[in-house]
Amino acid sequence: MGPLIVYDSISQNTNLLLAFFIGIGFGWVLESSGFSSSRKLAGVFYGYDTVVLKVFFTAAITAMIGLLLLSLFGWMDLGVMYINPTFLPSAIIGGAIMGLGFIMGGFCPGTSFCAASIGKLDAMVFMIGLFIGIFVFAEGYPVWEGIYKANFMGTPKISQSLGMSDGLLGLLVIIVAAIMFWIGEWAEKKFPQAEY
């Protein structure tokens, strides 16, 4: 039963080795989908290329449904999985700062590593920026520690917060994603850009 690391089916070192292979899959899919190009990534914010929207939400839905099915079959214990904690102010403020960084820099951390791996110099510079940004956060930590730790809400699932089952939430996410895919396809025709 999964997760394998929790049920002692694999050792810590095996887990790290498998992390490397999971990473290869991650990098391969990102690069092959065009996530090594900042102009493709930024396209989602202008409508000319919505690959980010499509890949991101298809991936989230696939994993979400996969987890629900594995749990349903009794192959996976969702109770011991890592669920990201919720701190309302830091999630919103951190997200806003990242959003600004995304449109200015044209990458997020994962895609910058991916783009740097095929030789994009702008991605390498972005990575230097990441280092500086994290360093600044670390050094100035006492200044923003209060905001960082404010309003801890535990690790709620959005389905719990909305008072619905996981399955119903999954269905809603699929419907919303389908509508967004449709808008994305429309936008790509409406706001075309020359070859890049």
Partner: protein, 178 residues
Amino acid sequence: MEKEIKSKKTKYWNPYIGGVLLGIVLLASNFISGRGLGASGAMKSVVVTSVDAVAPKHVEKAAFYKEYTESHGTHPMKSWLVYEVLGLIVGGFLSGAVAGRLKFKVEHAPRITSRRRLIFALMGGVLFGFGSQMGRGCTSGAALSGMAVMSLGGFITMASIFGTAFIAAYFLRKNWIQ
């Protein structure tokens, strides 16, 4: 002929197929390791390791590094995310090699110079690095992986990232579109 080769070089996967495959990678990560994918955390390990090499006393005293050491225990580079990101770089390189996309270059829109692109890349990186710490993870760790496990915080971070980028995109349109 040359045009044909060029269009072949920029050929990418169908995004929905790419998305399903990425979802399967994320699912495998959860099934094997009980956690999602990530990226910014590996850079945090690099920062902690670098600062520790230059000023070990500082790492013992300053609050951020103390909390990091307490929650991790092992050497910062011996972390799941560091191995995963090393794999990411290898995987990206292999995909680029197979598709013929390996090339040193600065990619930018026609209306701006390479210099401007690099300055904005640096500033964007600084903001993203800072924001990923404030938001406890980036697009991979907080938004994508958080969404897969239906974390409320993951959804909020995702909405905040894309919402803010959407609004700011109007003011930065010169950098990207004609």
